[in-house]
Symmetry: none
Amino acid sequence: MDGLATAGFVLDWAQTGADGYLMGKDQSFDAVILDLGLPEMAGLDVLKRWRAEGVLVPVLILTARGSWSEKIEGLNAGADDYSTKPFHVPEIAARLKALIRRASGLATSIISHGGITLDLGSGRVTRAGEPVELTARELRMLTYFMHRIGRIIPQAELTEHLYALDDTRESNTIEVYVSRLRRKLGARLITTVRSLGYRMD
Amino acid sequence: MDGLATAGFVLDWAQTGADGYLMGKDQSFDAVILDLGLPEMAGLDVLKRWRAEGVLVPVLILTARGSWSEKIEGLNAGADDYSTKPFHVPEIAARLKALIRRASGLATSIISHGGITLDLGSGRVTRAGEPVELTARELRMLTYFMHRIGRIIPQAELTEHLYALDDTRESNTIEVYVSRLRRKLGARLITTVRSLGYRMD
DNA sequence: GTGGTGTTTTCAGGTTCCTTTCAGGTTCGG
DNA sequence: CCGAACCTGAAAGGAACCTGAAAACACCAC
């Protein structure tokens, strides 16, 4: 899967069906790769529950080679695409790209937390219902935080995500942008964990 | 292919790429199955020309088994899905169903938004009831925007869809056309989201 | 071909506003 | 109470964007 990261995707990974179900339900991803045959809860059940609850995220399922019935059942359960194992990373990347592009017109992915809502598709942010203007970088940082609520995020990690990797930046840009987000979205949004990083909750 | 008719689909069939191209361009289908390796005009060229002209019909391509690069090229050219030959009819039917379901909601022949109406069939555009003359390229761009109201559209995406893919254009044509649309249709129609793209709302 | 018409692309100058840096202040842990 | 870590306002510099005008191109009628 490292290949996908190389292709510019940012990944989160759930090890069990139950975890995955909750992640997909609570957070907003651009797309989901669903491995049928997960422990604890069958992949298809995860998918069906999402669809029943109105979770519209594009789903690509991975199946064993040649199991037609599984694929068909998956597509009928609301999957948008599939690929067979063993898989071919560039192919998956291309299909994800197509899925995301096709979906972003229909399914507006909205993350909401603590009075802040973030609509990735339109790039709009509101605080307590009021629209807030953010620049591209601010938006990117906020998105990163919103995807990792409650986690401590080291400055280095933010730097890596906001700038090209290995850009060992001797500056305080991160601090500046945290400051901007606080001013625009409320001082209590982001907590400083001194010498470890920041946390949003 | 009889199996598809049995499954409730209504079919039209073009024998050559040139025929297929014209059919897809002039008529409105729910979906297209595109066999790569057609005579007269390569299937991928058909697809690219459609996409360059703003034809948004969902396309499923058929490729020979195992030709990864062909599939990937197809998906990047704007295909929505693929299947390998020899194909399995119930699978194709299921995937077509999924494609059509996903695409529907886009498929009206007149789009109207914010005082602008666009008749896809005739290519006529009005602003506040008054007809507006648009050139071919302006129309393509407007169509693309109208299909994606409220979404941020990166410049790169516009370039890809207004020109055949892989045409890495080092110019400001997109900016110029955005400017023209604004002059003809109102400056507030398209919002610039600096360093992310444009948005119509 | 030739000329005429309209469209597309390029170019250059101007404008906007985002990013980064810097400097001085504040907070916190030890 | 000292130093490191962090905060934040202001300002320079630059990237991204806009737009008018002209050149290049395509198309059509003759």
